[in-house]
Symmetry: C2
Subunit: 438 residues, 2 copies
Amino acid sequence: MNIILLSGGSGKRLWPLSNDIRSKQFIKLFKSADGGLESMVQRVHRQITKVDDSARVTIATSKSQVASIRNQLGDDVGVCVEPCRRDTFPAIALASAYLHDVMGVGADEPVVVCPVDPFVNDDYFEHLQMLSDLAATGDANLSLMGIEPTYPSEKYGYIIPKTADKTSAVDTFKEKPDARTAQQYIDQGALWNGGVFAYKLGYVLNRAHELIDFTDYQDLFNKYDTLTKISFDYAVVEKESQIQVLRFPGEWKDIGTWNTLTEAMSESVVGKAILNETCENVHVLNELDMPILCMGLKDVVVSASPEGILVSDKEQSSYIKPFVDAINQQVMFADKSWGNFRVLDVEENSMTIKVTLNPGQRMNYHSHEHRDETWTILSGTGRTIVDGMEQPVQAGDVITMQAGCRHTVIADTELKIMEVQLGKEINVHDKQKYELEE
Amino acid sequence: MNIILLSGGSGKRLWPLSNDIRSKQFIKLFKSADGGLESMVQRVHRQITKVDDSARVTIATSKSQVASIRNQLGDDVGVCVEPCRRDTFPAIALASAYLHDVMGVGADEPVVVCPVDPFVNDDYFEHLQMLSDLAATGDANLSLMGIEPTYPSEKYGYIIPKTADKTSAVDTFKEKPDARTAQQYIDQGALWNGGVFAYKLGYVLNRAHELIDFTDYQDLFNKYDTLTKISFDYAVVEKESQIQVLRFPGEWKDIGTWNTLTEAMSESVVGKAILNETCENVHVLNELDMPILCMGLKDVVVSASPEGILVSDKEQSSYIKPFVDAINQQVMFADKSWGNFRVLDVEENSMTIKVTLNPGQRMNYHSHEHRDETWTILSGTGRTIVDGMEQPVQAGDVITMQAGCRHTVIADTELKIMEVQLGKEINVHDKQKYELEE
């Protein structure tokens, strides 16, 4: 199965565990098979691989998510980077061109496009496989997934199928309705539109060439910022008559808020926390090293990271966005392809950061124009390269780097470093990268 | 006025803002005159000085509080250190001997003993002055403060005066009663026992010599650990017939729990916090640098420090002690006589600490047997002395110190340092102090 996972999203609604770099799909809060924790994207990837161990997975995303994807999934997946955000039609067109021109997928092969973050069981991915098989037959140009509704939601679009069969032609599409109208749709046999599309690769490439003047993937990539924002539904789905829907009767959750996310958690606590016996329906998600003690709370979510601390009634938590917009601070933690960092202290002319490199990983070779840095190695072994000179390092070693000095560090084992940045203008954009000749 | 402030208390009930080093009276959470924040002990000291600017204040306390007292009150107060805890009679006897033998207070001079943490207005301290004047007349051997009760509390002892006059002889004392009995006492005209004693210095010294075999302050100090634990009430008050009570009609709060403390706060937020409009009766006390966002909470206190985070229903917060006992972690922040420190990161073989020295202050000259240390100067200027060698330091300088190496730092301006400790056995007891010859 060829599958494109659309990975978008901002860091607002699940603040403070998400931020401008970490979208919700990268938060580790589900129990994994080995007893550790996994993120939504890790969970989805594991489920896909379980249903089809030869599945070719490509994640369509923005540049800001590439490091997190590599950190969490390694090199097991393809990544198609959108140079900027242009809604779902350009994104799916670009990913389709990537599959064809870079990955060598044939125009007759089926492709399934799916959001990266459904909270579902394995039966969902079995239905993706069915959709892929449906697309391969060529009976319709587009095959969609229709989720059997469990309540008259105002949050989803509806698909009204012609019949109640497992697979049916589509009668009409309906935009997000009010609850009363939603109930009327459901009474007519409507399904939720799950945002899943299956097609033969050539079909979408043809639609793309009709709407956009481009030669191949690279050309489309280069002119991506000139494209008009338009959704795949509007550009393709609504104009297509040869379209069918596959009915999905299983569990499906869209976990975009703390309220829905905590409902999907198998345990009430992730991280260090103590709840006394008078707490009811309380969830704690704690990424700080310090303990959280909860007493006498009801229907509350407590969530903590280096970005901040949220304490919210679960219902109220869906109104979080404007408050997070107002906080507007620098990013305090991030996963990188080579490991992660966390800001520990911010002063007017200094910033202290704990850096962890995974074994075998390295930073880019880089310099800063406006700040000096010192590294104190906390644990592990590796090598630093400073202005071309390589030196082994271990716990207790101190490396000082003046502004302008080129530097990197390579981890042989897991390497933890306390980095102190010093200067009058400390910001993430003060970074020049270099090729390293070894 | 000679006044002895009894400063005891543990760090449990106001966790996480208190810990094993910082008792509740040192938490800064009241608005001070200059718009900043002051602690209970700073507030009380300011109020005493306002009522009597020549008041001689001595704080009777344990060794662990001396640094906090010096940090918050400087050298304006005397400190009488109890070598170990032996209840209030030995503590008051030692402080009385200290006043007589060290401070030169005459045996005929009046002394007032008072808890360090009443949350009161200036009229309370005017009543302490009255008690001092009453003690000076010698009409009774002991003069106590009786607080007019506002409700039938089970938490306080009661004094039943003979008359309803402003000053009256004492009829009887009553132990903490149940609420029903308390109401009966109140109907008889009873007053709360405020734990305040005024006497002529010689009176308590005589009692002390009757009960303890000692010559002077230094002798009493030396044998302090051999003394029996006994309260001043039991050893002195209950055996004295010449005793009177001064009626105090003003506001008086005992703020030993989050519930009572938040009632006394003039603002609902201290530190970085955002409360949405659906929060009701919510207090946030945040000593972390990160923001706390509260949504849809009612009757909740949120309190955060490097020790941890408390989120509690206000009523429930009075049951906090056993949960804090169970957390049992190292101290994560402390005020020192020279400034303060805060633990930022703990790893198996390293600990990273942010150290702030106040201008003109210095650490002890010391070494560690089992750990190396590195200092990166974040801001300010000063001098380090390492194995006898003095060097000026400023932002960006790095000092590395091997285990065994003697070191200190002296702040010329406020000096902030990131200290990384490295070793297999990092603990606060690994410290040898030395005299510094300059």
